[in-house]
Amino acid sequence: MRNRDGEIIMAFEAIAEILEKCNREQISFPEVVIQEDMRDRAVSREETWIQMASMWEAMHAASQSYEAERKSNSGLVGGAGGRMEEYVKKGRVLCGERMGRVIARALQMGESNACMKRIVAAPTAGACGVLPAVLVPLYEDGEITEEQVIEALFVTAGIGQVIATRASIAGASGGCQAEIGSASAMAAGALVYVSGGSKEQVADAVAMSLKNLLGLVCDPVAGLVEVPCVKRNVIGAVNAMAAADMALAGITSAIPADQVIDAMKEVGDAMHVSLRETGEGGLAGSKAALEITRKLRMKA
């Protein structure tokens, strides 16, 4: 949005506007987000940086505190992240070692969330595993520094803000494409950024990752953030890696990121209410899910 002087007063209504500001002021993607936050919340650069650093600290701590023995209250999830980790250690992963660890991390964070452990909503609690799943392995392998990770988190926040403004980041209004899809787009952008890709490549990664998850419905079994949520974090993370690699390879999206986001909104609006977090349609309406729901009700 612009004021009458043509100045941009709200940077994050479009990815294109963020890129434009990068060009005009010759600053980086995360710098645009940092400056906008300083203006928006009237805080100093140091304050916004420290707050983002604390988000990373909490995310990293959460990813290290996984307990494989733990089950959720309902008993529906728990242990998958541990099993995947064991499997990766055996050394024969179809997707390769790195991707195997990304999958394990995504499962672990999703399960920690379901087991009432401390996590960072990114952008939601249900999708909290996607970002750490792709960032933590790179960080632990020494490929990226803490400073780069924090910058990347500013990139993800800018992307997420555009999605929240143009469409939605809530499963109840936009389906799972709005949660896991948004998380995946944020993660893809972060990956391109820390890998030294250009800001245009960041935008392409956002577009391609979100396109791949368009139409994904929100259908939690028994209304709980467990099935299919935990494993959807895996597709969010794996898809982000693939989209980032495509963008870094120079592959572009025919549909610009902002228009993909608009399409996501249109698809979300057209989604039947039974597929928007009501726990009625999709997987939640399957025979197995109804049986699970009945048993949980009896227990309660």
Binding site: S112, V120, T156, Q161, T165, I169
Partner: protein, 220 residues
């Protein structure tokens, strides 16, 4: 939405609306009561009633009543902590019509015997809204300093409050007026940009016709 609504909150899972938001509802109820609660009747409505148990909504509300924030790792153990701290809890379910789907009503008694009934809803992303205080409709989030004044429905009280605030250089962001019937009981809810000094609140609560003054300072 600021960038830390996108990345964050740091919270105990599994759901920002059913868990983190519920902790915040418990916590704001405690702050509104202004003292430690010793007794609480918690009524869950809508989706809070339907899927609350699986999301830990019940333990989350109790955790907030005990003064915990959404990222407190003790949230899952709140029921046993409540017992230790002498907070007596009971739960009930209701189908409140025309209420937001994620709504809870907390009827609490404090250690001094003070009573309060708060109806609040969880809007998503951990954000909440207080909808009713002691049965009177209100609307505030508790994110900025908030002054709630219960007074007799007589002329002059609004002017008393606003002139006090301007005298203390406190800027009013929003102001809402409610009453149960003409000449009865009225409530002012004022959200502000700055904190109100303690002595100004004391002065206000001593004025004739002012029944109760409740104040929430900026949440840290």
């Amino acid at each position: 939405m600021n960038i830390f609504d996108i990345l964050g909150p740091v919270m105990v899972g599994p759901s920002s609306s059913h868990t983190a938001g519920a902790v915040r509802i418990g916590f704001i109820t405690r702050r509104l009561l202004g003292e430690s609660p010793v007794k609480a009747l918690i009524t869950l409505s809508g989706s809070f009633a339907a899927t609350g148990a699986g999301h830990g909504t019940d333990v989350a509300l109790v955790a907030g009543l005990l003064g915990m924030k959404p990222d407190d790792m003790r949230v899952p153990e709140s029921l046993s902590l409540a017992k230790e701290e002498g907070l007596e809890i009971s739960f009930d379910f209701a189908n409140l019509k025309e209420a937001h789907p994620n709504t809870a009503v907390l009827r609490v008694t404090g250690e001094s015997g003070r009573e309060l009934e708060v109806q609040a809803s969880s809007l998503g992303g951990g954000r909440i809204m207080v909808n009713k205080l002691d049965g009177i409709e209100v609307n505030f989030t508790g994110e900025s300093p908030t002054l709630i004044v219960h007074n007799m429905d007589q002329p002059g009280h609004v002017a008393e409050v606003t002139s006090m605030l301007s005298h203390k250089s406190v800027n009013i962001a929003t102001m809402q007026l409610y009453r149960d019937h003409r000449g009865g009981y009225a409530v002012m809810v004022i959200e502000m940009d700055q904190n109100v000094p303690r002595e100004a609140l004391d002065w206000l609560s001593r004025l004739e016709g002012i029944i109760k003054v409740t104040y929430l300072d900026k949440e840290k």
